[in-house]
Symmetry: C2
Subunit: 318 residues, 2 copies
């Protein structure tokens, strides 16, 4: 089969479409013929050599896709069934092996590209802001990086839950897009200090920056607030004052969807389909695809993330 192969280690520009062996199925897996693959920042981090795939996972990039079942393996699925899939890797390819629990239905009216653009973000956002830290109606959430793939999904899910949504982004253009998807409070992090603007006000913070924001995030958290860190774009180390945690009754959480067990992933997929798929189907949550490119242009796709020139999602199609 054809797949994206990295020809120079650590260089995200050195990606070529090449011939590689088709994956073989493990018990409980199906083979999906990929029609579209979503691009995630983790793909870039992996291509840069900073995020090795978990043991046993494919070293081909790609954490989500949509397509048709080509081989149902030992499952009761039908060959030809159209599906989406949450992947541990391997999505930038013609075929990928997927544990059955990580298959998702195509939302009504969605194309393959539109489906591939929502799986990783919907599962990440739902599992974190709801399952992990219980965002609820009337609460305030701060979403860092509101204009990214995760950001635009998080804004819309949080609004659907009934929360007040604050976002940070690095440009007026991205903030305008955030606003059009429902964000209530817009903060340009290059010009404003979000911690001063939101002091003691945030019940939940969805953090993608890590170390350099820890102190400010704790300052912005309200009493009883919860922060969930899913990205470390600024680095992983920080000094922490545990007294602030105690005085404010706050909690700090960290998760990586990719490293969760297949059982936990299956439960996350189940809850996401149950709760977010209806939001996609009735229009409460909308796709925002920045650009659709052929699979062979994977390097060009990742370059959007290098330059942060995109808003929402980039998708590769075959």
């Amino acid at each position: 089969m054809k797949a994206i192969v990295q020809t120079t280690e650590g260089d995200p520009a050195a990606l070529e479409l090449q011939e590689v062996p088709k994956p073989t199925l493990q018990p409980g897996e199906v083979l999906v013929k990929v029609a579209a693959s979503g691009v995630n920042r983790a793909d870039l981090t992996q291509a840069e050599g900073n995020y090795p795939p978990p043991k046993g996972a494919s070293d081909i990039l790609g954490l989500e896709c949509a397509g048709e079942i080509a081989d149902a393996g030992d499952t009761n699925r039908e060959v030809g069934e159209k599906v989406g899939a949450l992947l541990v890797g391997g999505g930038y390819a013609e075929y990928v092996a997927v544990p059955e629990g990580q298959l998702l239905p195509i939302p009504e009216g969605f194309s393959f590209a539109e489906t591939a653009a929502v799986i990783e973000t919907a599962c990440t956002v739902w599992s974190n802001i709801v399952m992990e830290v219980g965002l609820s109606k009337g609460e305030t959430i701060l979403i860092h990086g509101g204009g990214g793939g995760i950001g635009l999904m998080a804004i819309q899910i949080a609004k659907a839950i009934g929360a007040t949504v604050a976002v940070t982004a690095g440009s007026a253009e991205k903030l305008e897009v955030c606003k059009s998807y429902g964000a209530d409070i817009l903060i340009n992090y290059k010009e404003q200090d979000f911690a001063e603007e939101l002091k003691n006000q945030c019940d939940v913070i969805l953090d993608i920056v890590g170390g350099p924001y820890l102190k400010k995030n704790m300052f912005a958290l309200a009493k009883g607030g919860r922060m969930i860190t899913i990205g470390l774009q600024g680095g992983n180390k920080a000094e922490i004052n545990m007294g602030v945690m105690m005085m404010k009754d706050i909690s700090l959480h960290g998760t990586t969807l990719r490293r969760r067990s297949p059982e936990v992933k299956a439960e996350i997929v189940r809850q996401t389909v149950k709760n977010v798929w209806p939001m996609l189907e009735d229009g409460r949550v909308k796709n925002h695809i920045h650009e659709t490119l052929p699979l062979a242009d994977a390097a060009k796709a990742l370059n959007h993330l290098v330059e942060s020139s995109h808003t929402g999602k980039v998708v590769l199609v075959q």
Copy 2:
């Protein structure tokens, strides 16, 4: 009325029984004539000048008591009713004003002294290991300071829930007491490295040490583990590696019972009475009173905590 007054600021030995004004009742409060007061490490920290009472609270020491209602204020309580009370302060006195939501019944068969010895620890342990981080059957919990007031209560509640219990303490004698209350894994922190012993094994950690233990605690946490910090006996600052939080899907929590709102306190009291009082009444959770002293000997009582010469609780009676 008589109450313990500090005659030299910052000196926990300078405590005298003196005449002071009786508290006046706020709406929703009752006046309790104190028969017994529990001694907590927070009393010592406050007497040392390091833990100022929250705004509006009495500056008399004492976070829990048992006695009789002397004035029901605007509530429907009866004068003469025997009660326990969770206090924001003021327990080392003849009378104390208590919001009705912070009253607890006397567990069947318990004396005033026995009641005063369990309120703060039961409410703290239940609200943290169950309400905050959801310890459940079959999980492993590490309890730091197993031989203290909080420690012995936590061991027994965790065993009643069906957890495996590991404890740290600084002497073989304290570890023996922990064992007699149900602890399964005994670690002398002066001789052993708890993090090596329990690497990746703890679903929950009840932490009272803070900064110096953070890295080790994170090492000891299992995937999906939760740490709840309620004391900072070693200090409040630490370096944190947020990458570890993400890779292990862990969460770090901090709370202070004393600084929670009256509404939250009332809910904690309600849940503690519902869940822990039956354990006290059927013997699953037992009192361990190290010494009972007259109220006038408050300084002597606090000195046990200075020297850590006690196991379990010290109680002051009138």
